[in-house]
């Protein structure tokens, strides 16, 4: 077999540019896909992967640049148009119709018919044949929703390819599949590749990239970082391309603090949930900061959600003060005096229309029950105390929180949980989207909190930052806790090499 780069160019993107108000989502990005190639498209959140795909499939209009398919300039009007041009896309959440039969999903709009009537028998026979080519032997008359996500995804791929796709885009297809299903999917991808189809594979899982891709392209902040054959690209280099930092010659030393000792405040033993996160052990002592580091999709947020009871573990046991506890809902967690500030504070955290005061007392009020209203004077007292303590910049506590800057919103969210006097606090990306000054303040705040005896679990994509305040760092990869770093091991470089190392 000839090397893929000698295959004809299938898709050529030159200088693709797209901006949204205030954001340059794509900045002169080049991308080349050859026939019979599996091309990994990688990048962290906001790198521009989805924008690239959406421009390619006609969801967004491009601002500039050219897209050529087999040498012809193309501009898809919408996804259906892109499909007719030969660009098929399969999304993580399968975009098919769950209520229709598998056969109808495969053939909708082009059902075999005679005298205006659909030949259902013929359609089912052809659907079975088509899926047999993918090693799938299922009853195609059943509704799609009666099958697993993995099968639905194969049906989606079969449909896209059968509609004469030359380019197949897979947007995080493996995010909700188990290991065996991923293997099946990869078998199918390799077979499609040998038929000369060009495949764009978006994923966060490095092992999968190395298992199946021929070449990778990395984007960061809307710019092209590089495009390389996978065989010539060591893992550590790939990770540094994604995270945008070189290995520093000398490791940054964190603030030296004596190791925290004593009995763990909270502990999780063999805690996990299938398809979400592999079982893990985790223990935090009072006054200890544990960081969770890893690439996007590695299982950081999933860990946090499990620990706070948002997702229910299907195995393992949680302990507080050495005693086993029930932790099935966020209410349980709140009762145990856990706190959680989510990653997406706009949708999951703040109530934008309510005032700062109302937002701050929200968790405390919920804890007391709505029948025992916190007296207004007490509310004012709490609000003004935290506004002062955390230095929330606002003229008064009655301003709607939506009008504050990101950093101040984040502080108010912190205040909400601090008002409940938690013993264990989980912060998911506490410094995302806030300016540098507020950044430093939040970090100082984290350090001050643990001096007060709070146990903190912090998730962050900023390796330097996480290394600077964590006593220990748990590194995650492919939804597994792969290594726990402590003492002098805690440095941005060790974290990065651990992320990049083979499992």
């Amino acid at each position: 077999m000839q090397p893929v780069t000698e295959q004809p160019q299938l898709l050529e993107i030159r200088g693709l540019t797209k901006s949204f108000p205030g954001v340059q989502a794509l900045d002169h990005v080049n991308f080349t896909l050859h026939a019979g190639e599996i091309h990994g498209l990688l990048g962290e959140n906001g790198a521009g992967k989805s924008t690239l795909i959406k421009v390619l499939t006609g969801v967004f209009r491009r601002d500039g640049g050219t897209i050529r398919l087999e040498g012809q300039d193309v501009a898809a009007r919408d996804p259906a148009d892109a499909l007719s041009l030969g660009i098929g896309t399969v999304y993580q959440e399968v975009n098919l119709l769950p209520n229709l039969s598998v056969a109808e999903n495969l053939f909708i709009g082009r059902q075999p018919h005679r005298f205006g009537l659909v030949r259902t028998g013929e359609m089912r026979r052809r659907a079975s044949e088509l899926l047999a080519g993918y090693g799938l032997d299922i009853d195609v008359a059943n509704p799609l929703s009666s099958y697993s996500v993995a099968i639905q995804q194969i049906v989606a791929i079969a449909r896209a390819v059968d509609l004469s796709a030359k380019v197949l885009i897979l947007d995080e297809p493996t995010a909700s599949l188990d290991a065996q299903e991923v293997e099946t999917l990869f078998g199918i991808l390799r077979r499609l590749k040998s038929r000369g189809i060009g495949i764009v594979f978006v994923t966060h899982f490095l092992d999968q990239v190395y298992a199946v891709c021929d070449r990778i392209t990395v984007l960061r902040n809307g710019r092209l970082v590089g495009s390389r054959p996978i065989a010539e690209l060591p893992r550590i280099e790939l990770v540094s391309m994604m995270l945008g930092r070189e290995l520093a010659a000398e490791a940054l030393h964190r603030n030296q603090r004596p190791a925290v000792t004593g009995e763990p405040l909270v502990a999780f033993r063999n805690y996990g949930k299938s398809r979400l996160i592999e079982p893990f052990d985790l223990a935090l002592r009072p006054g200890e900061v544990v960081g969770l580091a890893g690439l996007l999709g590695s299982g950081r947020t999933e860990t946090a959600k499990l620990v706070f009871g948002i997702e229910r573990a299907d195995g393992g046991q949680a302990f507080v003060d050495g005693r086993p506890v029930r932790l099935a809902t966020p209410r349980d967690a709140a009762r145990l005096r856990f706190g959680f500030t989510p990653e997406d504070r706009k949708t999951e955290g703040i109530v934008a229309e309510l005032s700062i005061r109302e937002n701050i007392v929200l968790a405390l009020q919920a804890q007391r029950g709505w029948l025992h209203k916190i007296p207004r004077a007490k509310q004012d007292e709490i609000a003004s105390r935290f506004i002062k303590l955390l230095d929330i910049r606002t003229p008064d506590a009655e301003k709607p929180i939506g009008l504050l800057s990101g950093g101040n919103q984040q502080k108010a969210l912190l205040a909400r949980w601090l008002a409940t006097e938690p013993r264990f606090l989980i912060l998911d990306e506490p410094t995302r989207g806030i300016d540098v000054g507020a950044h430093a303040e939040i970090i100082r705040l984290i350090e001050r909190l643990c001096e007060d005896g709070l146990a903190l679990l912090v998730i962050s994509s900023e390796l330097e930052e996480i290394a600077s305040y964590s006593d220990r760092v748990v590194v995650l990869r492919d939804r597994r806790h792969v290594r726990e770093l402590s003492g002098d091991e805690v440095s941005a470089d060790t974290i990065m090499t651990t992320i990049a190392s083979h499992s």
Partner: protein, 321 residues
């Protein structure tokens, strides 16, 4: 296989149990006379329910059908009695008008992305208002054609009659079944109800299908209006108030999910018959107020909606394990 047809099987079981209860109390329920009347009395409801099934399957709702039925009756009465129009020509005219009316609503719903609830609510007021513009009186229709048509009936063994309007209803259901389950249009209707966005991504002609669905619903409402005018031999502006709600109830009791995407036409037929059965039972019983029909329908509706929630929750659970 069983699971897929569970809602309609439950509807069928309810009908059979109901029928057996009626039979146990009033043996004459077995006579073809009662069965013939059951079909005749519910013919107009059945016809309009076929259209409503398509609308609800696509994830929409059509509140205008009751008004369209009344408008049809008034239009026919005025056209035939006041202006001496040929009844058959009047039928064609009113069917054409209704089709345009429905297509217009479908166009508004699609083009401006307005909820069907609002558009058809406006349609409901509009059609009802037009009735009063034509006339505020109840006008009897005495055209000879009406007598001829209502006289058409097949004698059933045992003294019952399968009337023309009952046949129209059964034919409408047969056509509805073919349209829903054996044509591309039918598949597109289900696709819209399953997930509009996905359907659009998969190349389903969303606009065309939406317009046709509401056109079909109004067309069948007008047909039901014609049948209703045979039944009552009159046109009256206040006729068929609340029929849209009876129709929706029949469709839901027939196993169609109000959120769209799941359901069958045959289920709707059974749903209509269940309503008819309750009505007939109360007539036989004699002492109960006819409002008990509404109470029974209300209770059934609750039961079915809870059942549907339970079933869809169960199917989600069975898939995730």
């Amino acid at each position: 296989m069983i699971r897929r047809h569970l809602p309609v099987l439950i509807t069928l079981a309810v009908f059979i149990v109901g029928y057996l209860i009626c039979l146990a109390q009033f043996p004459s329920f077995a006579s073809t006379r009662v069965i013939g009347n059951l079909l005749t009395d519910n013919a107009f409801l059945g016809i309009v329910a076929v259209g409503m099934t398509f609308v609800i399957l696509s994830g929409g709702i059509d509140l205008s059908v009751g008004s369209v039925i009344a408008f049809t009756g008034v239009f026919l009465a005025v056209a035939i009695e006041r202006y001496g129009l040929n009844p058959y020509l009047a039928f064609l005219l009113v069917l054409g008008l209704a089709a345009m009316f429905g297509a217009g609503m479908g166009l508004l719903i699609h083009a401006f992305q307005i909820p069907a609830f609002i558009v058809t609510l406006a349609g409901m007021f509009l059609a009802r208002g037009l009735c009063f513009v034509l006339t505020t009186d109840s006008i009897p229709i005495n055209a000879p054609a009406y007598g001829q048509i209502t006289d058409i009936a097949f004698a059933l063994p045992g003294g019952g009659r399968l009337t023309f309007i009952a046949i129209v209803m059964l034919v409408t259901f047969a056509a509805g079944i073919v349209l829903a389950h054996f044509t591309r249009f039918g598949a597109n209707v289900y696709a819209l109800g399953g997930n509009r966005t996905s359907a659009e991504l998969m190349g389903v002609p969303v606009g065309k299908t939406t317009i046709r669905i509401y056109m079909l619903s109004s067309l069948l409402a007008a047909l039901a209006g014609i049948v209703f005018s045979f039944y009552t031999s009159a046109g009256y502006s206040l006729a068929a108030t609340g029929v849209e709600l009876d129709t929706i109830a029949a469709v839901v009791i027939g196993g169609t999910l109000l959120t769209g995407g799941y359901g069958t036409i045959i289920g709707t037929l059974i749903g209509v018959l269940i309503q008819g059965l309750i009505q007939t039972y109360i007539t036989f019983e004699g002492t109960l107020s006819s409002w008990w029909t509404k109470i029974a329908i209300g209770a059934l509706l609750f039961a079915f909606i809870v059942l549907q929630r339970g079933l869809s929750a169960a199917s989600v659970r069975s898939r995730s394990t």
